[in-house]
């Protein structure tokens, strides 16, 4: 039996792409590792559905933000490794800026001092 994490967050529409791109920023890796990395770094709050992960990877590849090559994994098996392209790197920057602005805006509204609207 899997130990269920306390609570899990639904991924917001469009955020998976950014998470994948950000995960690939340090270097190339394969789909399973990407999924695990997102889960781990989000302290298990975010779990990537495999059913969404692979379509997303292929979509990003079709857009030219990431590229893929078949390489041997640490354990000597053939695995498909994804890495960021130059275009993808720019995209991470842009998306991240956008996301931060958005989340700051959300924060401002949600934590505003409750006053009567004028």
């Amino acid at each position: 039996m899997n130990i269920q994490p306390t609570s899990r967050l639904e991924l917001l529409q469009g955020t998976l792409d950014l998470l994948i791109l950000r995960t690939l920023l340090p270097g190339k890796t394969h789909g399973h590792a990407i999924s695990k990395h997102i889960q781990r770094t989000s302290e298990d709050l975010l779990q990537v559905e495999t059913g969404s992960l692979y379509p997303a990877l292929h979509r990003l590849e079709a857009r030219g933000w990431i590229a893929a090559e078949w390489e041997l994994s640490e354990k000597g098996k053939r695995a498909k490794y994804y890495r960021l392209t130059t275009k993808g790197r720019k995209q991470v920057q842009a998306e991240q800026t956008k996301w931060e602005a958005f989340s700051r805006a959300m924060g401002l509204v949600l934590n505003s001092l409750d006053r009567e609207p004028v």
Binding site: G31, H32, T50, S52, Y54, P55, R59, W70, R78, K80
Partner: protein, 902 residues
């Protein structure tokens, strides 16, 4: 080829990507399982957990595939394969649909390609829209109405060239007709043009070899010639060394300096000259001193030019009209014709009109065929609509049978859009297959049409070939028809509610409405009525025209023409040549009588008009002047063409140059000039009337009856028609076999250099003169038959389906003792009602449509009762046939079988 390769690349690439995805997911599973095992699960459990974590693999793969961007193509490919399979399963339906579409699209494309060549296609020169032709209105005092003409006197072009600021270049040209071109001792006939030296440079045509005329080359003694690409290939074997070579034109020496590019074939549709010479070369070919100076009595030059880019046609016309008027007003007082009322009126009231020459200058071919071709184009569109209605109907009947299939697919989760798309793909496959077949059919058809409208010795020089415009047209028409006939059935058959349909079995509920099918059949019948009526009107017109009493007997007459000029004879030497030819013809075995004339019966080249303004030395007032058509004939002409001489005599050999002038008049001329008198012995002008002949129609059956005046050829012709025209010989023969060969031999023995041309029988000449009528009758007749066939198939399809649905009902009725003829009537009644509804809608439609064709009808009204009666009878017959066949099949089925049929 390229596409096949790309498709192969796509399918192999797709396959490897699919495998890669599977490998990738496999690796994911393994990783997941290993981690699960590491966290303490049993290997089996670990594998199971990994699988569960992966979720719905099929869905995952589907979603991933969608990101590759191929789904659209994959679905199309699926749909196409499915469509092909459906069509293979119904070969009869597929063949009927594709064939009727191919005929419909092919007919449209064939007529469009001819229309394109004759009316629509721009000249293959730079910026054709800047080209304009100068024409002028000619107020005619006889009729009071303006008629326009294209001819100018030579001095006028010099004036336009020196004064016009709105045109960047102005050129003039004139036709030379047949020329005898000699080269290295051989001779052959070619069509020639004379043009000013800037002709090619204003048109911006570049020579493919050599050069064109250079500025200043159009001067007295000009002896250069440009030949067309076609003539270069046919006569000179495409040998470039002909440049600089010596040729003779009517025995006068010229030098070939250039060859036109292949795409350029002159600037008038239907006439493509083989050779061009400068205008002033005319002096060496046909000397005429008045040609360069006289603006009124000698108008022979055609003028066109190129607008400056920023100038509109109206601006240019305004400027040129002023120049035109100024010039004529200056010339009138010093002209010898200044006293003539109609010349004064021409100067006062005539106007210059600029016509766009982007699609070529005024052309007789275009004038005669633009309207018939547009008529046929509309007819072809109607045929295509009928074909569409037909296929839509067949599809609807099939759609009813496929409702269960559609219901299952809807129930299994297919979206309606997806199903419509699939059904439309099926229609598109049909339409495109039809369009594909239509292209060779259209090409063949357009060539047949060109042959049909070609008179004379060679097919018309029309550039009818399948270019990209034609393909685009065929493709567009195919796609449009596909949507047109496919959409309604597709939408209707997917509108089903799956539940009840699936429970009910294969047969749809009996009471379902079939308004759409019926409307389609009624529309189809109505349009067929229009087509069949049209065909009937054109066929009847042809019949009527053929049966008009023309005043001569067309059977057993052979005609040919000879031009002594082509062999280098001067005009006063020509008479002797013609006399010698005639003498030899008269003694040929098999020839009953022979004659010569300037104008032949049903002539396609001459229409000679004159005025009788002096009777017995008395000048007629201008309003009493008699307009006549005239001809000059040799002795024996009337007996050769079998026009009876009513009183007096035919011309005799002694009516020659030195004898007193004589004329023969037609009955109606005699009546109007000498009412209630015997005209013999009276004088018209200087000539005495020696005979009266029966009226005949001057230029064929469709001509207005006119008073006719005949001059003796060898008395009158010496310095008139011999100078510019040629002579036609007529032979009444007993047997045609080898006659033409004997004629050629005789003429060669008079002079080896005399070419024989326009050789044809009077019947053939008449047929050619009725080309327009025959084209309309043949093509619309073909379409009429096609429409009947389509209507028959459409009605049959609907009835066969209706009867099949009612097989059980018919079985029950028979079992209960219903009479067979009663049941037959039950079914036929429906067919007949639909047909009658179609006829009721179609007849008024046909009457309206016939009004558009009024100008080409002859001898019948647009509401010809016989035509309409035959049309109605034909359609009812077709309907009865279409209804009878399926109902007889149903009646043959034994009642028990019919009942078990469910």
């Amino acid at each position: 080829m390229n596409q096949i390769l790309r498709k192969l690349g796509w399918t192999t690439q797709r396959r490897s990507k699919e495998a890669e995805l599977r490998d990738e997911l496999q690796f994911h599973l393994q990783q997941e399982a290993e981690q699960a095992e590491a966290s303490g699960l049993m290997p089996e459990q670990a594998k199971y957990a990994a699988r569960r974590e992966l979720g719905n693999v099929a869905l995952l793969m589907e979603d991933t595939r969608a990101t590759w961007g191929w789904t659209w193509w994959e679905r199309l490919w699926q749909d196409l394969r499915y469509a092909a399979r459906m069509l293979r399963r119904n070969p009869g339906f597929a063949a009927a649909a594709i064939l009727s579409l191919a005929l419909g699209i092919g007919a449209n494309t064939a007529i469009f390609s001819l229309l394109n060549a004759v009316v629509l296609r721009p000249l293959p020169v730079a910026d054709p829209q800047q080209l304009v032709q100068l024409t002028n209105t000619l107020p005619l005092w006889e009729t009071g109405s303006d008629s326009s003409r294209e001819l100018y006197g030579y001095p006028q072009i010099e004036r336009f060239q020196s004064q016009s600021k709105t045109l960047s270049g102005i050129f003039g040209w004139t036709g030379l007709g047949r020329l005898n071109i000699g080269f290295h001792g051989t001779s052959g006939i070619a069509q020639g043009n004379a043009s000013s030296d800037n002709f090619f440079s204003v048109l911006e045509v570049r020579p493919q070899h050599g050069r064109f005329f250079s500025a200043g080359e159009d001067r007295a003694g000009a002896s250069v010639a440009v030949i067309s690409d076609r003539y270069w290939r046919n006569r000179f074997g495409a040998d470039p060394s002909v440049i600089g070579g010596a040729i003779t034109v009517n025995q006068v020496p010229f030098t070939v300096v250039g060859i036109t590019p292949p795409e350029f074939s002159g600037i008038a549709v239907g006439s493509s000259p083989d050779i061009w010479v400068p205008l002033h070369a005319l002096d060496r070919l046909k000397p005429n001193s008045k040609r360069w100076t006289d603006p009124f009595s000698s108008s022979w030059l055609l003028i066109a030019g190129r607008r400056r880019p920023a100038i509109s046609r109206e601006q240019a016309q305004a400027e040129l009209d002023v120049i035109h008027h100024q010039f004529l007003a200056e010339q009138l007082p010093i002209s010898e014709l200044s006293g003539m009322e109609n010349v004064q009126r021409f100067v006062r009231e005539g106007h210059l009109v600029l016509r766009s020459a982007a699609r070529g200058v005024a052309s007789g071919l275009r004038d005669s065929y633009a309207f018939p071709l547009k008529l046929l184009m509309s007819v072809a569109v109607i045929v295509l609509l009928v074909a569409c209605a037909n296929i839509a109907n067949l599809l609807l009947a099939r759609a009813s049978n496929r409702r269960r299939e559609m219901a299952v697919r809807l129930a299994l989760g297919a979206s309606r859009g997806r199903l419509v798309r699939q059904l439309l793909t099926e229609s598109m496959v049909l339409a495109l297959a039809g369009g594909f077949l239509a292209v060779p059919m259209a090409w063949w058809g357009s060539l047949a049409l060109v042959r049909m409208i070609s008179s004379g010795d060679s097919p018309l020089p029309l550039a009818v070939y399948p270019d990209w415009q034609i393909f685009a047209f065929a493709a567009a028409v195919s796609l449009l028809t596909g949507i047109l006939f496919g959409l309604a059935p597709a939408v209707r058959s997917t509108r089903a509610d799956p539940g009840p349909l699936m429970k009910e079995g294969t047969r749809p509920a009996g009471g379902s409405s079939h308004t759409l099918d019926r409307t389609l059949v009624v529309a189809q019948v109505a349009l067929s009525v229009v087509l069949v009526t049209g065909a009937g009107l054109f066929v009847r017109t042809l019949q009527k025209v053929w049966n008009v009493d023309v005043g001569y007997d067309r059977e057993n007459v052979l005609m040919f023409s000879v031009d002594a000029k082509l062999a280098g004879y001067p005009s006063d030497g020509a008479g002797a040549v013609y006399r010698e030819i005639l003498r030899r013809l008269q003694v040929l075995p098999g020839v009953k009588s022979a004659s010569a004339s300037v104008v032949r019966p049903v002539d396609d080249q001459f229409y000679l008009l004159d005025k009788v303004n002096e009777i017995d030395g008395r000048n007629l007032r201008e309003s009493d002047v008699i307009r006549v058509a005239w001809n000059a004939t040799s002795p024996g002409y009337f007996s050769t063409v079998s026009t009876p001489v009513l009183s007096g005599r035919d011309f005799e050999p002694h009516d020659n140059e030195t004898a007193p002038k004589v004329v023969i008049v037609s009955e109606s001329l005699a009546k109007s000039a000498f009412p209630n008198q015997n005209p013999l012995g009276h004088r018209l002008g200087l000539a005495t009337i020696v005979g009266v002949v029966k009226d005949s129609l001057y230029s064929g059956a469709r001509d207005q009856p006119r008073p006719l005046l005949y001059h003796p050829l060898f008395q009158h012709g010496r310095d008139q028609e011999f100078g510019w025209g040629f002579v036609s010989f007529e032979l009444r023969y007993g047997s045609l076999s080898n006659l033409l060969d004997e004629v050629r031999r005789e003429i060669a023995s008079v002079d080896r250099n005399l070419p024989v041309f326009r050789a044809k029988t009077l019947v053939a000449q008449t047929e050619e003169s009725l080309m327009e009528e025959r084209l309309l009758a043949t093509v619309s007749g073909f379409f009429g038959v096609l429409a009947l066939l389509l209507a028959c198939i459409g009605l049959y399809g609907l009835m066969a389906y209706a009867v099949a649905r009612r097989t059980a009902e018919i079985g029950i009725r028979l079992a209960l003792g219903a009479r067979r003829d009663h049941i037959m009537w039950l079914v036929l009644r429906e067919t007949l009602w639909l047909t009658l509804a179609g006829i009721a809608a179609g007849v008024p439609l046909a009457l309206c449509a016939a009004l558009f064709a009024k100008s080409v009808l002859f001898g019948i009204s647009t509401a010809d009762p016989l035509t309409i009666a035959v049309t109605v009878a034909l359609l009812i017959g077709v309907a009865a046939l279409a209804g009878y066949v399926p109902v007889r099949r149903a009646l043959r089925v034994a009642p028990m079988v019919a009942l078990r049929y469910e």
